[in-house]
């Protein structure tokens, strides 16, 4: 790796850190805007002024918000996420198991969606303008244009209600076998795949088409190379950067999808936890979940950028 690439990558990581700091400030500030006093909400109407003041002090609410923000950040860095308002459990514990579930869902989805999307994206770019391309592109535009919950609803309607193949809810109790596991995962994964694949196909197709416009492709065409050879030998190696970038970016769409999908299928993941926390206005829990998601999102975006930098042939020595 040459020093120029190293500098760019380090710069990008620095930007990601600064961004994370701003994001944490925004998340903290948003939860500061809550109207009314959280202590009075917690203690109810019958609370005495002494009790309110006592709890305020115990929760450090009497300190200026900058100081509390500082405390919160230090806590996050040392792995102390605070305790939930709603059930007084340590948040790190609540998130721990849920995070594994969400990551498992994401991994399975990624494993299915990425190969599928790459195949479709590259072939549609190769046969641009054909009926096959038009059918796929139309499907992609339709999927992108509808809300995620609609795809989930359709999936339930088709697979659970009409065909009766799969259960409409997913809950893993105990240690299910492989078959059971497959049935539980199927519906959320199908839904998420639709969302992710559509984005990925669109970006991959655009990246390959962009490469196919280059003069050296025209040269290969004039030379008499076959379509396969042009794409595999000349276009793909040059399009890998943009394609990998597209994959990482589309995976970040998982986050939006996962919030809806976990809610609909009652999947015990972090997103479901967060939606429930919003319903009970459990602020520390919301803050922590939000940070978990933002970190995941930032990691993917930063990864996309870094891969784009590293794979840029102009920077290669």
């Amino acid at each position: 790796m040459n020093p120029q690439i190293a500098m760019l990558v380090i710069g990008r990581l620095g930007v990601a850190l600064v961004t994370l700091l701003i994001v944490s400030a925004v998340v903290f500030a948003a939860t500061e805007m809550l109207p009314g006093d959280i202590v009075e909400i917690l203690l109810g109407q019958a609370a005495t002024p002494e009790a309110v003041a006592g709890l305020r002090e115990a929760m450090h609410l009497d300190e200026p918000s900058v100081l509390r923000y500082w405390r919160w950040i230090i806590g996050l860095l040392s792995g102390d996420l605070g305790t939930s308002y709603a059930n007084d459990l340590p948040i790190a514990e609540m998130i721990g198991d849920r995070l594994t579930n969400t990551l498992r869902l994401a991994a399975v989805t990624g494993g299915v969606a990425v190969p599928l999307a790459l195949t479709l994206g590259i072939t549609t770019a190769m046969f641009r303008g054909s009926t096959y391309d038009r059918v796929v592109t139309t499907c992609v535009v339709s999927v992108i244009s509808v809300p995620e919950f609609m795809i989930a609803t359709l999936a339930v309607l088709v697979f659970a209600v009409w065909l009766n193949w799969l259960p409409a809810l997913s809950f893993s109790s105990g240690t299910p076998g492989w078959g059971e596991m497959l049935r539980i995962f199927a519906m959320p994964v199908i839904t998420l795949c639709c969302v992710i694949t559509a984005q990925m196909i669109r970006m991959t197709r655009a990246a390959v088409i962009e490469t196919l416009r280059m003069p050296y492709i025209e040269m290969a065409l004039l030379k008499g190379a076959s379509r396969w050879r042009i794409v595999m030998r000349h276009a793909l190696p040059n399009a890998i950067g943009p394609i990998v970038n597209a994959v990482a970016l589309s995976l970040s769409y998982l986050l939006g999808g996962v919030i809806i999908v976990e809610t609909i299928f009652n999947y015990p993941g972090v997103a479901k936890l967060m939606v429930d926390a919003v319903a009970t206005r459990d602020l520390p829990l919301i803050q922590s979940c939000a940070m978990v998601f933002c970190i995941g999102y930032l990691v993917l975006i930063t990864l996309a950028d870094i891969l784009a930098i590293v794979s840029n042939p102009r920077l290669r020595k």
Binding site: A30, E32, V146, G256, I259
Partner: protein, 280 residues
Amino acid sequence: MAMSFSSLRLLGYRINVVAILASLFILFWAAMALFGTSFAPHSPGKVVDFDYYGPISAEFPLGTDYLGRDILSRILMGASYTVGISLAAVCLACASGVALGMAAAVTGGWIDVVLSRFLDALSSIPSKLFGLVMVAAIGSSTPVLILVLAVIYTPGSYRFARALAVNINTMDFVAVARARGEGTFYLITQEILPNIAGPVLADMGLRFVFIVLLLSGLSFLGLGVQPPYADWGSLVKENIGALAFGAPAVIAPCIAIASLTISVNLLIDNLPTKIRDRSA
């Protein structure tokens, strides 16, 4: 280059038909958002059927919902919420985003750097998550929803407008105007804006679709438009129980959302390249 040209011309006729159909759909929903409630066969809040999740019939063209209310009337009421809130939010987001973007491009310097960095950071919070946090913090009412949606989509609009404006800013006519001693406001409104208006409007259409999707998503989670009012997302949420029966109550609002968003997307995809993408 030659290849894409011929394929465009070959498809010229087809493309226009799609665009016209899409515009008809959009006009239809715009009209329904404005005057829909006066066409409604029943009062949207009134229980009119003894049965719930009723099928399609002459009296209830799209069936009835979980309380026996007329779905068609409720969808017509939902149109004004979905379209109205989204339109207000997209106007707010694009107006502020484009104004800031042009200002940043014209003034440059530290204002540009600070603004860009901050808005980039804001856009790296996933939109649905940001919506959840904001709604959790300040509650859910129509003005709050409009504001939150506008804040979420301002950074994207800013980035887009800034990229376009930076290109225009290097043109000779801007340099001439500057040499004449024109102020920033004049440069932005008279020199830059007319030259980026086309792509900005197309971008606004795309952003409108994103906002409709996000609003429906929030409403579906129960955090958007609150009862007794309902937008299309809330209609799907209310009637999700109809899924097991395959009743029209849950399918009809889905189709309403899809017809609006797909039409806008198709219309923008089929706009002449000249309007859609000035930078190309």
